[in-house]
């Protein structure tokens, strides 16, 4: 599903990843743990092709990212759901319009689109906010909307960049439970966090199945 092999990445002279390698199998749930500025976001960006490694190979969903062309990259990205660190909601679009964006890109029929949007709004408890704008809802609801948008196209892989770092502990667990439910349905999930104890705390609190934890430190990944 995800395989990084000897990946190096640097922003000009600043080396971010040094010979980073890890593997996440299909259907697994993984945590990527690392301090601020350790390169978590960079690593996740490498996974959906927003950045290109300086050297090394990145394989995602059986596809070597080096082989992607500008015309095949969008098709590849449609198989991945991304939850951004800052949600990245479109402020001038309503909640339901934000949610519909990925569906429009895959040319979903309008009736099916409406159905999917309504189902997810119900599932995420956002149905009464469907005509509201992102600035009119709470940060937890924004985060849920961002997750809903990431999963509306039923992605094979869900990447979440520090989705819980700004949330309070109870909401954090609620959010992770949501990811867990998606993982249970077969979606591979990779969640990044700055909190090294979060995976353990979550497993204990929810009595959940063990998760893979990757620690990113000094540009290297350890399992």
């Amino acid at each position: 599903m995800i395989q990084l092999h000897q990946v190096n990445f640097s922003y000009r002279d600043l080396s971010v990843l040094e010979r980073a390698s890890f593997r996440l199998e299909p259907g697994e749930f993984g945590f990527l743990v690392g301090g601020s500025g350790s390169g978590k976001t960079t690593l996740l960006k490498l996974l959906y092709g927003a950045l290109t490694p300086t050297s090394g190979t990145v394989n995602v969903l059986g596809q070597s990212l080096a082989d992607l062309t500008p015309s095949t990259l969008p098709i590849f990205r449609r198989k991945i759901g991304v939850v951004f660190q800052d949600c990245n909601l479109v402020e001038y679009k309503t909640v339901e319009q934000n949610l519909a964006i990925p569906q429009k890109l895959v040319k979903t029929k309008i009736q099916i689109l409406r159905e999917n949007v309504n189902n997810l709004l119900h599932q995420m408890g956002l149905v009464h906010h469907k005509k509201a704008y992102p600035r009119q809802i709470s940060s937890n609801e924004r985060q849920r909307l961002a997750i809903a948008r990431a999963i509306i196209n039923s992605p094979l892989l869900l990447i979440a960049d520090q989705p819980t770092d700004t949330l309070d502990p109870s909401l954090t667990l609620e959010m992770l439970a949501l990811f867990d439910a998606l993982n249970f349905q077969g979606t591979t999930v990779l969640v990044s966090t700055t909190d090294p104890e979060l995976p353990e705390r979550y497993i204990r609190a929810q009595n959940a199945a063990p998760k893979r934890v990757f620690t990113l430190k000094d540009g290297n990944i350890s399992t």
């Binding site: 990205r77 402020e91 309008i110």
Partner: protein, 291 residues
């Protein structure tokens, strides 16, 4: 297609004020260009009416007999600037006056009890390259120096040609300026909308939008501005034409082929500006937004 159009309309609606200002500016510049085109086509029409008319007419002295006048005509025709000379006899001039004045013509003919008051004349045609007020004045001065010539008059051809040439240059300059400024205005408006939508474009790029899907709204905005700008410009010009038509009398509005050319050019410039704005946007936000 539905989503593409929806996306393009949303893109357009996002910077309404910006687009309105762009349209107003386009209208203003196209109004000015239309004024030049209108002058140009009006003078061109007037000039084509005078095409068969001699730019210079030299009236011969009454004492000059026809044979002498013809010899004189041959003599001055050696001047390289002169294309040819028509000799018009006294009788011919009298007949012309009779025709020109209709029922009053007989009065003219009979009013002088058999004597012909009209002098013989030389209608001097000049090659179109030399047709300018200055050349005609020099020629007239030269011809007038001969004793056999009483007077030399200008029919207005030279002045009109001068004005036409000047208008021609100014019209071409105004077209070039309007094309350039329209391109810049539309490009700036489209680019501004792109910048406003930057977060959204970044997002749709990450979730799998193709380059075509991202570029389409830029193109549509360019085309819409390129279509409605000239349309408003022409409409305003037509309204002004209607308001002042009683003053400008017989002058006709811009011909259809010019109106169609303006509209088509507007759309082409708009599309080109949209593409250019997208290129600039993609270059500026290369690592952030566009694949």
């Amino acid at each position: 297609m539905r989503y593409l159009i929806q996306n393009a309309l949303m893109h357009l609606g996002l910077t309404k004020l910006n687009n309105i200002l762009c349209l107003l500016a386009l209208t203003f510049f196209i109004l000015i260009m239309n004024t030049f085109l209108f002058n140009h086509s009006s003078i061109y029409k007037e000039l084509s009416l005078k095409e068969t008319e001699a730019p210079l007419v030299a009236f011969a002295n009454d004492t000059v007999v026809e044979d002498d006048a013809r010899v004189f005509a041959n003599q001055i025709q050696k001047n390289e600037q002169i294309l040819y000379i028509d000799f018009i006899t006294k009788e011919e001039n009298l007949n012309r006056a009779e025709k020109q004045f209709g029922s009053l013509g007989k009065l003219i003919k009979n009013g002088f009890s058999g004597s012909n008051p009209f002098p013989a004349s030389l209608e001097i045609y000049v090659s179109s390259d030399n047709l300018s007020r200055k050349t005609l004045e020099e020629l007239a001065f030269e011809i007038e120096a001969y004793e056999t010539i009483d007077d030399v008059i200008f029919t207005g051809h030279g002045i009109l040609t001068d004005i036409f040439r000047q208008t021609n240059r100014m019209t071409i300059a105004s077209i070039a300026f309007t094309v350039f400024i329209s391109f810049l205005l539309i490009r700036a408006a489209v680019l501004k909308t792109g910048q406003t939508r930057d977060d959204e474009i970044h997002l749709i790029n990450i979730v799998g939008a193709t380059r075509g899907f991202i570029r389409f709204p830029f193109l549509i905005q360019g085309i819409v501005l390129g279509f409605f700008g000239p349309l408003l410009g022409i409409t305003c010009f037509y309204l002004l034409y209607c308001i002042f038509t009683f003053q400008i009398g017989v002058l006709e509005f811009l011909p259809y082929y010019q109106l169609i050319t303006i509209m088509v050019s507007g759309v082409i410039i708009g599309a080109f500006s949209g593409f250019s704005a997208f290129g600039k946007y993609a270059k500026t936000y290369k690592n952030r937004s566009v694949p």
